[in-house]
């Protein structure tokens, strides 16, 4: 999506809950509402009545409650009725839909939120049922095992080493120490990781993101509206997403051609990338993504710790965008890239480019 002749759209607020392995008694609304309260406060608005559009991302299979996302509307203040939509995907795609809504001229601002409570089920099994229903789902081949086969392809071809993977983990744990919402932070070295035995070989438990409960939320608006609100913002200068075939055998699992294509369309290479937040649920996938996005030494990758430090299914992709926004408004970066993924072995990828806005 290019920007010519269109209103510039910016991120104006981002909040995320803590990533916790089990949110206990809290239901969906109780996970969402504190995050929405904070994001409204950040913009200086009261509730969803003060934005033109609301879109959420979640998946009912995670907690096994049909139409659970409908309950989420209880967190919004939907009296009188609001314009609302939902994607059964990561909320990064809800942000994409919200951008289209603004581009069409149907809204000046939008609230986007994602939430997931994965702890009630056995997530790798649940995710196995998103696979081909004739050939794969009946085998109950889980997502960790599929990623392990992807990692072995790379190891066998000499594209990565186990140490490269361990270093990704160690950096994630270190960076997560500075992220108050992370689930797994710590002073961990690559040696510590390599000393672990394998879990689903060649993956170690540390190579695999944890299962987390929680929510995140973002508010986007036209730059005019952001200035009216008087809040700091980061401009979305490009966004695109691409998906690959569901047939894992046909795909080149050692690369992410869908990320490459989305990145080209979003204009990732049109400028310096100071920071990148990549949705890599497995350590080797961060390396695949960094290469597909052609990130260099001067790019800080996953300063939040990324999803290896805490993975909110259906919200982590949106959080990646929010984390890049945070770096830009904090003055730590001028330009950054956020990536979101969905499906086994990085099947579907969304790339967003954020840039520091012109000061009013």
């Amino acid at each position: 999506m290019g920007q010519s002749n269109m209103k510039e759209i910016a991120i104006v607020a981002y909040q995320q809950s803590d990533c916790v392995s089990d949110a206990g008694a809290a239901n969906e609304v109780e996970l969402i509402i504190p995050v929405l309260g904070k994001v409204f406060e950040q913009v200086g608005i009261t509730n969803a009545q003060d934005v033109d559009f609301v879109c959420s991302g979640s998946c009912d299979y995670l907690q096994g409650a049909a139409f659970a996302f409908v309950m989420g509307v209880d967190a919004l203040g939907a009296v009188p009725p609001i314009k609302e939509s939902h994607v059964e995907m990561d909320a990064a795609w809800a942000l994409y839909e919200s951008m289209l809504k603004i581009r069409m001229g149907h809204a000046e601002s939008a609230l986007i939120y994602g939430f997931g409570k994965s702890s009630p089920g056995e997530l790798p099994n649940v995710l196995s049922q998103q696979l081909d229903p004739y050939y794969l789902a009946p085998l109950w081949v889980d997502t960790i095992s599929l990623a392990a086969m992807q990692a072995r392809l790379m190891l066998d071809q000499g594209l990565i080493t186990e140490r490269d993977m361990a270093e990704v983990v160690a950096r994630s744990r270190r960076n997560a120490q500075g992220n108050p919402h992370a689930q797994l932070g710590g002073d961990v070295s690559a040696e510590d990781v390599l000393a672990q035995q394998t879990y689903v070989s060649p993956l170690r438990k540390a190579d695999i993101c944890p299962v987390s409960d929680g929510a995140s939320a973002v508010v986007i608006a036209t730059v005019e509206k952001a200035r009216e609100w008087g809040v700091p913002y980061a401009v979305i200068s490009g966004i695109d997403h691409c998906i690959e075939t569901h047939n894992l055998g046909v795909r080149d699992l050692t690369d992410s051609i869908s990320t490459r294509r989305a990145a080209a369309n979003a204009g990732v290479g049109d400028g310096r990338v100071d920071v990148a937040e990549l949705y890599a649920p497995f350590s080797h996938q961060e390396i695949i993504l960094s290469r597909a996005l052609e990130l260099g030494e001067d790019t800080r990758v996953n300063p939040s710790g990324g999803v290896l430090a805490g993975n909110l299914m259906m919200a982590s992709g949106l959080s990646r965008i929010g984390e890049v926004f945070n770096r830009i408004v904090a003055g730590e970066a001028q330009r950054g890239v956020a990536h979101a993924t969905s499906g086994p072995c990085l099947q579907h990828n969304l790339v967003t480019v954020l840039e520091k806005g012109e000061t009013a």
Partner: protein, 146 residues
């Protein structure tokens, strides 16, 4: 405000669907019932097993079936030390991408093996059939090392 008990309830959610197979998946499953494995020729001539209905690159409708071998080669694998209850084995086993003889792309299935060290990329494996194939992907019970 009173402190609540944390109330939880274990339950099992069932999705008891019947799926239509269509001519391509149906043909593959029909052949499994006869202990045959068939693939399909893609637009560029590659043989894809199990067969896909449409070409992954061109979206062209596919229909040229090709019988492939019941032996093949491990392209990649994952060793599962702690099988899940849903998994096809209750002892350690491997998931593998297996390129069958005569096929150009690998398929995902499970491999029975005693130890991780017995499995390797490039190892030869052979399909093991269920006692009574019925036209389901698990008619191939697993693959075993040759």
């Amino acid at each position: 405000m009173s402190q609540p008990d944390v109330l939880h309830q274990a339950f099992e959610l069932g999705f008891t669907y019947t799926r239509s197979t269509g001519p391509v998946v149906g043909r593959f499953l029909t052949e499994l019932k006869k202990r045959n494995i068939v693939g399909i020729k893609a637009s560029d001539g590659r043989v894809i097993v199990p067969p896909m209905e449409y070409d992954p690159d061109t979206a062209e409708e596919l229909g040229e079936f090709v019988e492939v071998g019941q032996q093949g080669e491990i392209v990649s694998f994952a060793w599962v030390r702690e099988p899940r209850a849903a998994h096809p084995f209750d002892r350690p086993f491997a998931w593998a991408m297996i390129k069958l003889d005569g096929a150009d792309v690998p398929m995902v299935h499970c491999v029975a093996a005693e130890a991780e060290s017995d499995v390797a990329t490039g190892a030869r494996v052979q399909a093991v059939w269920a006692d009574e194939p019925r036209g389901f992907i698990t008619d191939i019970r697993c693959f075993e090392l040759v």
